[in-house]
């Protein structure tokens, strides 16, 4: 038993990992202690663990995503250290492989997506004048499944060993023949659990946006961020089932001995690559379209102008969504599918750049004849434009299959996707967070610190990733832990950039603390002279969002309301508001899911079955639960609103 514990269960023999274990235990003890000392357990349970409020769920998503950004960032710094001092064996090849695998997986699945979904959660219901999402209970289930999936995935670092086959987890290398053991199972099960939650989010937001809009808000009057969320949800709904199946098939391969992607039994490893990218390419648009939406909101707000070419913006997103399902082969042009196939996918891929370009020019058009202010959210948006264009044009270069044979698997590719993912998604998350921060927390983030963190991050980002294009031309492959002497200088430059980015991130996080302490509190709801309905409520937002549901009379609903002097509080027209009740079931259900997942990872079937029975029992309880929520009385609404609006005038 002890033998098993020390040799297989716990990861041993590495100071880095002992350090991680010790710090995890210490942090857990500290959290438990603080919660007990301040008697906050009840508060935590009532206000957060059981909440179904889209605003709180959104905030939890964002906090978790920032924690994951930290973990992924540490991974990145470890990799950069290794590549700067390759001779020192700072990391051996196995460690390096584990670290770039967890880096990639965490950044895409547990950072980028939850960050954006968190913003969607907070903002979309407010933007469409709704009081919550369509299925608040399901929304909580989504969040906890993400949290549990992330927890399980991160646990691999200290228990059992991290996955080490890259975020793409290609077969047969990741299959049962060449890579047995729990590590890849962590990848499969962690992604499966959180992926199902994401799928539920997609369905939830489709129903929300289609059915819960305030009266008068036709589709073509929706704020552009809501549009981007709608289209993202649509992509999620059709792309995530593919991931579900792919993960399930490989799990069955590994645990139950089927032969889908194996080297034996006539299995077909190539099928994994196809299924993975059939989901994977839409996935990259899942993490960029909401960011596009954020930039549109931010740019139009700070240029103080209506969005330029609204219709073109919407249609370009629709076209991007459609095309995103017919380009997946560009991730393996080098598989030898034949000249015809490669030509077809080259062209479809390049076509995506056309609607993308249209969006870029429309953002420029939005600023044209504007009156541009340079607050921090706007800086992120302005930094995004040139950097993302660089990522887009290198994407087009990669799309030219004949040339891609030379770029594929090199640092050129690494530079491309960081140019789009960091300048696009991460800048977008930061822009969105600083933009909606006052709405979430009742105060702005400090501008000076915000600008410092922006400039560090932007310059660091370019210093880090521009050299990588040249490294690609010099023949440096991705995912290698050792490098040739001639690649050294550029790698050192790149690492300097990584450090600058880390400083930028640290300042960003410090700014959260600093602003909490020192920023002036918001006295009214409209922090930036905003244009969409989220700015129409008071700050802090009452749990029911809108006392009276606004009537929408055109695009930019709140802009129009301001001109007409209307508010979302019509004293004489109040009605009791129906709200859903909180529930502990989602949390408990996903705790059981964790047990089931952990059992599957270790192939302890009894544990897995026990966990699954727990999950089913929770569903059972839910099915018999006829709690329809409660009504907020008119008096309570009046009291809340008067209090929130007292300081306004």
């Amino acid at each position: 038993m002890l033998d098993f514990l020390l040799n297989e269960f716990l990861v041993t023999g590495d100071p880095l990992i002992y350090g991680a274990m010790v710090s995890m235990v210490l942090v857990s003890i500290a959290i438990v202690y603080v919660l007990t000392y301040f008697k906050k357990w009840g508060y935590l349970w009532r206000e957060w663990l059981t909440t179904v409020d889209h605003k709180k769920i959104g905030i939890m998503y964002i906090i978790a995503a920032i924690a994951m950004l930290f973990r992924g960032g540490v991974d990145a710094l470890l990799m950069r250290t290794q590549l700067t001092l390759p001779g020192m064996e700072f990391l051996n090849s196995q460690h390096y492989n584990e670290i770039f695998t967890t880096h990639g997986t965490i950044m895409i699945i547990f950072m980028a997506m939850p960050f954006l979904i968190g913003l969607m959660n907070f903002v979309v219901p407010l933007q469409i004048g709704a009081r919550d999402v369509a299925f608040p209970f399901l929304n909580a289930v989504s969040f906890w499944s993400f949290a549990i999936g992330a927890l399980l995935f991160n646990l691999s670092f200290v228990i059992g060993g991290s996955p080490d086959a890259g975020w793409t987890n290609y077969a047969p290398m990741a299959g049962p023949n060449l890579n047995p053991g729990p590590n890849i199972n962590y990848y499969l099960i962690g992604l499966q659990i959180s992926g199902i939650g994401t799928l539920a989010t997609g369905i939830n937001f489709l129903a929300t946006i289609l059915k819960m809009r305030a009266p008068g808000m036709t589709l073509m009057r929706m704020p552009i961020f809501t549009w981007s969320s709608l289209i993202t949800s649509l992509i999620i709904t059709f792309a995530f089932p593919i991931l579900t199946v792919a993960l399930a098939l490989m799990t069955i391969d590994r645990i139950f001995g089927s032969q889908f992607f194996t080297l034996t039994g006539d299995g077909m490893p190539m099928m994994w690559a196809n299924l993975f990218w059939l989901w994977g390419h839409p996935e990259v648009y899942i993490v960029i379209l909401p960011a596009f939406g954020i930039f549109s909101e931010v740019i139009s707000t700070f240029a103080r102008k209506q969005l330029f070419g609204y219709k073109a913006m919407v249609w370009s997103m629709v076209i991007i969504a459609g095309l995103s399902f017919v380009v997946w082969v560009h991730h393996f042009f080098t598989m030898g599918a034949g000249a015809g196939v490669n030509s077809f996918f080259s062209i479809t891929t390049m076509l995506i750049s056309v609607p993308t370009g249209v969006k870029i020019f429309n953002w420029l058009g939005t600023m044209y004849k504007g009156k541009i202010r340079f607050d921090t959210p706007m800086l992120w948006a302005l930094g995004f434009i040139p950097c993302f264009v660089l990522g887009g044009v290198t994407g087009v270069m990669l799309a030219m299959a004949a040339a891609d044979y030379q770029y594929h698997n090199t640092y050129f590719l690494v530079a491309h996707f960081h140019n789009v993912l960091i300048a696009g998604t991460v800048f977008g998350c930061f822009a969105g967070l600083t933009f909606w921060y006052p709405k979430m927390f009742g105060h702005k983030m400090n501008e000076t610190l915000g600008k410092i963190s922006f400039w560090f991050f932007l310059i660091g980002f370019n210093v880090c990733f521009l050299p990588m294009y040249f490294l690609g031309f010099a023949g440096m492959p991705r995912r290698t832990y050792s490098i040739e002497p001639e690649w050294m200088p550029l790698n050192v430059v790149s690492s300097v950039g990584a450090v600058l980015m880390a400083v930028g991130f640290a300042v960003f996080v410090y700014n959260i603390y600093y602003s909490f302490r020192y920023s002036p509190r918001e006295t009214q709801g409209d922090a930036w002279d905003g244009r969409a309905l989220e700015w129409a409520t008071t700050t802090p937002v009452p749990f029911y969002n809108f006392a009276t549901v606004p009537k929408v009379e055109g695009p930019e609903a709140y802009w129009l309301m301001k001109q007409k002097g209307k508010t979302t509080y019509d004293k004489n027209n109040l009605e009791p508001i129906h709200m859903p009740s909180d529930s502990g079931v989602p949390f408990i259900m996903m705790a059981f899911m964790f047990v089931a997942g952990f059992g599957l990872v270790w192939e302890w079937m009894i544990v897995a079955i026990a966990g699954l029975i727990g999950v089913l029992a929770c569903m059972f309880i839910r099915s018999f639960d006829y709690d329809h929520g409660f009504h907020v009385s008119v008096e309570e609404i009046k009291e809340t609103e008067e209090k929130a609006r007292r300081e306004e005038k």
């Binding site: 492989n97 190539m270 541009i372 299959a401």
Partner: protein, 307 residues
């Protein structure tokens, strides 16, 4: 604001110059030694020019707009038009121009894609030399069926003659890449892909597996010795005469996951198994499954350090 942007641009430009200055001589992909790499280089250079044009347009427009339309105390509402919401003519232009650019890029791309599936024109007077390149964790086997010789982790090829690589793998999916000669293609178990390359200049080039395959991936490299036909022939003869035969049991032993030195043999493993055929795909697993149960400890090989 203006100064900050200026500073940033200057900094970027300096960094770029530095990089290009320090890196240019080593940019293998842009300095190819054979017709395949050259046609790819031409495509790359053409696309870089087009793309720089786009980047320049966006940068200039962005800078102009930011400078002209930023809020300044002396500006007031001059040129401010909050209701300006679109311009059909402009929108058509910036849809059609990118479409034209995409077309301009597609045509040479498609032509090159088709070209690369055939042996290069410049040596069409000679039959291509067939070399089976088989990847296994974490080494390369090169079999010359016509010459009946096999090498491990290095390659000799004649110059001015097309090489027809028949790629396959005994286990993980690898990718054969010799950047100085041209782009890569995957090696997969149970199937065969074909890659044509050719060296016009004699020399020693770096080749590697560029597709991640696990622990020994970084060490899965090989040298390519390109030499004039006569020299190549004499190397072949020498190998045929001096190298030992590759027995099946020896080959099976070499397949075990790990690193290998450079080796040569006077027969090929194709007599025992062709990993490029469906029946060959479980050959290695049947012999070495248990070797993958433990994390390998790698030793020896032609590692990166000792070059």
């Amino acid at each position: 604001m203006k100064y900050r942007w200026g500073k940033y641009v200057a900094l970027l430009a300096a960094a770029l110059l530095l990089m290009i200055g320090s890196g240019c001589s080593d940019m293998t992909v842009l300095d190819p030694k054979g017709p395949v790499g050259e046609s790819q280089r031409d495509l790359i250079v053409f696309s870089i020019i087009m793309m720089l044009f786009i980047v320049a347009v966006v940068m200039v427009a962005l800078t102009y707009i930011l400078v002209k339309f930023r809020e300044r105390p002396d500006r007031g509402d001059k040129d401010y038009d909050p209701d300006h919401e679109g311009n059909t003519k402009l929108e058509i232009i910036w849809t059609v121009v990118p479409l034209i650019i995409v077309t301009a890029l597609s045509v040479p791309t498609v032509i090159t894609i088709f070209q690369l599936e055939e042996p290069p024109e410049s040596s069409s007077d000679k039959e291509p030399l067939v070399v089976h390149a088989t990847a296994a964790d974490w080494k390369w086997f090169f079999s010359y069926p016509e010459q009946d010789i096999e090498t491990v982790n290095y390659l000799h090829i004649p110059t001015d003659r097309a090489i027809e690589f028949r790629l396959s793998s005994a286990d993980s999916m690898a990718s054969l890449w010799i950047p100085a000669l041209g782009g890569q293609k995957y090696n997969m178990a149970g199937m065969e892909t074909k890659l044509y390359l050719q060296a016009d200049e004699a020399g020693t080039y770096q080749g590697r597996n560029s597709n991640f395959t696990g622990t020994g991936f970084a060490e899965q490299t090989f040298d390519v010795h390109a030499e004039p036909a006569e020299e190549f022939e004499s190397w072949v003869e020498e190998t045929q005469q001096n190298a030992p035969e590759l027995t099946q049991s020896e080959y099976d032993k070499l397949l075990a996951p790990g690193l290998l030195e450079e080796m040569e043999f006077s027969s090929t493993h194709l007599e025992y198994v062709d990993h490029g055929e469906m029946d060959g795909s479980d050959y290695l697993i049947e012999r070495h499954q248990e070797a993958f149960e433990e994390l390998p400890h790698l030793e020896g090989g032609r590692g990166v350090g000792d070059e």
